[in-house]
Symmetry: C2
Subunit: 391 residues, 2 copies
């Protein structure tokens, strides 16, 4: 199958590109290095030493496997680029990771909020128009986020909610309570994609993904030049990955507030598996399908405790320091999200274990000298703007 | 009260500005003439001859009433302008009409879709950040649209839905099924505003307005220089206004498809009354309040029949020609939208009557020589992109 990977230089995009290429598909990856630039601006970096560019990574991949990954360096907000890639590559599936992915980044200030929303919304509108005009039977597999739902006081369903109301009933988009300007951009995307499916008959799957952890995939293990990035800074790092790094370098783990925030989590191996299942089982024409993509729920303190226990096993003493929560979010709440559709398609979850955490410790230790500790603690506060106000 | 009117040059913005000024408030109007420029590009125009600019209109208003309306000509996507207006005027209420308002405009092609969404989303983000930083206790009264809801098969509530689900319950944002790239932009705004209320404690009222009809308000009647615009073209015209004009010039009325599309409608006098009620009864700090702003529901054929009957009364023979529907929308559907919150605040509806339609005929006849008939028939098709596709 011809598979276009948007955001193919990212934490997930690069391993996904390699995985599809090794599975025998024709892969073309597009990236504009948004995240690399954001790291440069902030003085942060991936823990793992990743290849200097997407072409360099594709060359290394060819050296190691003999397989090709096509590459375009460019910005998805540029219609002429999107149009050219669609005309030349004629994708049958589009895996769309190509967005600014960070909640804290979007909350830095007005400029970052406006940038995140316009970048993500325009990227996705361009993809939808390119599909309608040039690839109307292709299947869009779009990376959404479980953060679109927030923490409602009812069970979270997969994209839709059957409502009985005043003697009538309907199945409607699940109501959204996103928690940052970034999460909002994904809600906007979901509404735009749903509309494009309704009016143009496009096929789309929205993968509302939980928090991904892990550092290695089958392909990254083949050669050090094929590593994927691993972020641990306050802007791009995520809970478990950051806790593992903190444990290794002797930094206290930093749950925000009481740490009762419960979310869905999954191993990076399962991200790749889920995306593959979605691509190989496309949505019907006109269908906007939503999968909740995670395998287990944890609260932040549960994760911290797991890391502490795994640390004790290998002789690392782990301290836990609860921080003032820089975000505005419920710290004790109901959370139960349905996630059966990907299991029904055959997902075989890699559940979180101490062994996995210990192997992450090992990989992190290999690159410990690359850690920049200045940017581990949170600096971006959700209430920031209001705190600076004269009112 | 110091009331900032964003989009103060528009069909609703200009009469609203005059009304608040005459009611004794301090009014400042901002506009960048987006709609005037879109008309110039398309070769269309307002039926009514409106003043050449916002300063010219404010001068005329001062001549007639002795009252001031402050004016800023500028673009709300320009943060430096928004910041300056907020710093200098220090608004206590912000009435936000300042968006690209047309569904067909947003559906012309990709560029118009991207423009509509980025313009509207960035305008509103800028207003939210200006409020958080510079006017945290001000009240945002934002023009939304009933079109955010679409036509679900259950009753439409005012912004929120109480859900009982698997033995638990919550009150959540009402699910949205918007029908154009423009309506989507308003859904994006609603999510963004709701978030700003939750995290910064801002006050906001989202007015999900139905289709407005009417040509005159108390203030526009004072002097011809104070007229508001009246659009009847396929891009900016709306159902009843356009039908009245078609009747007067002997053009067949043009319901789309079977004409069973049911929507909420209201008189322009009631728009002004509703906005005033919202401004004078502000939302609480942190509250995102949603009012459904219309007074009556009609199907498109019901409106066409009403216009035909009113025509017969005054000796105009009105023909009705059902057109192939250029939009993608249900033509027969359930529709029952709650709209009690503004009535509870004291709204006194001006219901639609043959007398009102006949008085619209008279006003339209006065400017009949200004009609540009070329742009009455729809040219923008929702399926357009897909029709041009090679697939």
């Amino acid at each position: 199958m011809r598979i276009l990977i948007l955001g193919g230089d990212g934490y997930l995009g690069w391993p996904t590109s390699m995985h599809f290429a090794r599975a025998g598909h024709e892969v073309h990856a597009v990236d504009d290095y948004l995240r690399r630039r954001a790291h440069q601006e902030a003085g942060t970096d991936s823990l793992t030493p990743i290849g200097p560019s997407l072409p360099a990574r594709a060359n290394a991949f060819r050296d190691v496997t003999g397989l090709e990954i096509g590459v375009t360096e460019g910005d998805l907000t540029d219609w002429s680029l999107v149009e050219r890639v669609f005309r030349e590559f004629e994708p049958e599936a589009i895996v769309h990771y190509g967005e600014m992915p960070s909640a804290p980044y979007s909350m830095i200030d007005r400029e970052h909020a406006v940038f995140t929303q316009t970048n993500n919304v325009v990227n996705t509108l361009n993809v939808l128009y390119a599909m309608a005009e040039l690839a109307p039977d292709a299947h869009l597999v779009k990376l959404g986020t479980m953060g679109e739902y927030g923490t409602p006081d009812i069970d979270i369903e997969e994209g839709y909610l059957h409502v009985e109301h005043k003697g009538r009933s309907d199945t409607l988009p699940f109501p959204k309570l996103p928690g940052s300007m970034y999460h909002l951009s994904k809600v906007h995307d979901s509404h735009n994609i749903h509309f494009a499916c309704r009016i143009w008959g496009l096929r789309a799957t929205d993968l509302n993904q939980g928090v991904v952890y892990g550092i290695e995939t089958e392909e990254t293990r083949l050669d050090e030049r094929l590593l994927t990035r691993f972020d641990y800074d306050e802007v791009f790092g995520t809970a478990l990955n950051r806790f593992c790094l903190q444990a290794v370098i002797g930094h206290p783990l930093t749950p925000y507030g009481r740490g009762g925030q419960t979310r869905g989590y999954l191993n990076i191996l399962d991200t790749i598996q889920c995306v593959q299942l979605a691509v190989l089982n496309p949505a019907a024409a006109g269908e906007f399908r939503v999968f909740n993509q995670f395998t287990e729920q944890f609260s932040v303190v549960e994760l911290a405790e797991l890391v502490r226990k795994a640390g004790a096993e290998v002789g690392i003493e782990v301290r836990i320091d609860h921080l003032d929560n820089p975000r505005i979010e419920a710290e004790d709440h109901y959370y139960n999200a349905v996630h059966t559709k990907l299991l029904d398609l055959g997902l075989q979850p890699h559940l979180l274990s101490e062994t996995l955490i210990e192997s992450m410790f090992e990989t992190i230790r290999r690159y410990e000298d690359r850690v920049i500790p200045d940017h581990i603690m949170p600096a971006t506060r959700w209430r920031g703007v209001r705190e600076r106000s004269p009112g």
